[in-house]
Amino acid sequence: MNVYMDHEASRPVDPLVLEAMMPYFSEKFGNPASFHKLGFEAQRAMKTARGQVASLIDAQESEIIFTSSATESNNLGLIGAARRHRKRGNRIVVSGIEHISVLNVCKELGREGFEIKYVPVDSEGIIELDRLSELVNDETVLVSVMVANGEIGTIQPVKEVAEVAHQHGALFHTDATAAAGQISLDVSTMEIDLMTLSSNDLYGPRGTGCLYVRTGLRLKPLMIGGGQEAGMRSGSENIPGIVGMGKAAELAKETLLAEATRLTRLRDRLIRGMMESVPDSYLNGHRKQRLPNNVNMRFSYIEGESLILSLDQLGIQVSSGSACTAKTLEPSHVLLSLGLKHEEAHGSLVFTLGKGNNEGDVEYVIQHMPGVVRKLRAMSPLTPEELR
């Protein structure tokens, strides 16, 4: 039995997406800048993909700037907006549970002289809107708060955040990487100026992401050169990747509601099943304002890596925090922001479900968790007498 529940770290490319991409590797391999039939074919393919992605978030084609990843989109969105619109103000306000790419970009902008303010979240991971209103002022150039956190699953009240930003004339960026494909996104009703999306989170290929840039908004480009993507992102376009992201966005839009309902049911069964069968286990994040596919659990007295390793032996793949930060050996900054102690953060597991998971998978995990936890707790010097 193999149960992959690490969709936040990586997702398989959907077979239909791969099928759509295939012709663009070796047959329709033209450069859209070329002035001949292969070039024109590539231009048409890009236009279609741009439309598909735009449609997922109710944007216009021309508002989609393709990049190589969500990380690049976050870098371009934040650095590009801050440097270009510096005269609007010197303050940048972000939540404390943003992805490491947003936080590290803010650190860098801090070194460049911007004043960075972090808005805390409550113990369930929801941004404190009161604090936000205090921190956003007329000197604020940019506010960035993610739609949802992929690690603890918490969904933020993004529209309210956008309103606060706009009241003060600040631009609003949101990282929708983890949310896209799981909850509906609409850039106009949500009042978004800049939005980050990743292809892989939609079951599209790695190596492609995009930044939504509201019509009329200009950014200072991060990568300069031939002037592709309206001059905001140079480099010959990755057509197979872009075609793949387009197809993935189209499929995501079609299946969103049904899949969200299905995953929410599996998610709730998994949470309940583990809480009931494993003593001293707790849910991290918000019980309801939560991505349909996210289960983040804390198992006291033991450490996450040894949990992952034990589960891997049983054919269950999970994660212990954002996969992107695993190598730092630091406990997740997201969990610490909830007020968890270091040792509590160390013992947390992230199960992220996806298309391939079914009820059998959930039951398999529920069945094996108690034994795995028990074995590790028996080895741990922290485990209280009654749990050994």
Partner: protein, 128 residues
């Protein structure tokens, strides 16, 4: 960051897990805040480690290195036990991922602490 088969074996089937109620020496290193805490318990007979047990809170490497350390130490003289280094333990496991060499490979220290703990107590007794 991949573990060797040897590491995985010691993780899956850790040797000498447990506590010794009336241990002659105990050594504890690490800190749960950092994600690693390990205790080694020894019984000593004729200046030799006659029994050894451990308890570890930590990652796979932490568990495997403690397990391996107890296996290397069992039956050895105290002086021999003091010669068991972190490097030796890692080597016996077929190597550790670089990042783990420094952060989770603390078991040799726990062993040395257990021996020192035993000696201190016994020197203490001898002197008193």
């Amino acid at each position: 960051m991949m573990y060797t088969e040897k590491v995985l074996d010691h993780f899956r089937n850790p040797r000498n897990v447990g506590e010794i109620e009336d241990a002659d020496g105990v050594g504890t290193v690490g800190n749960p805040v950092c994600g690693d805490l390990m205790s080694i318990y020894i019984k000593v007979e004729d200046d030799r480690i006659s029994d050894i047990k451990f308890k570890t809170f930590g990652c796979g490497a932490a568990i495997a290195t403690t397990s391996m350390t107890t296996e290397l130490a069992k039956g050895r003289t105290l002086d021999e036990a003091m010669q068991i280094t972190r490097e030796k333990v890692a080597e016996e496991l077929g190597g550790l991922p670089p990042v783990k060499m420094h952060c989770s490979n603390l078991a040799a220290d726990a062993l040395h602490e257990a021996v020192t703990n035993y000696r201190t107590k016994n020197d203490g007794e001898g002197v008193s």
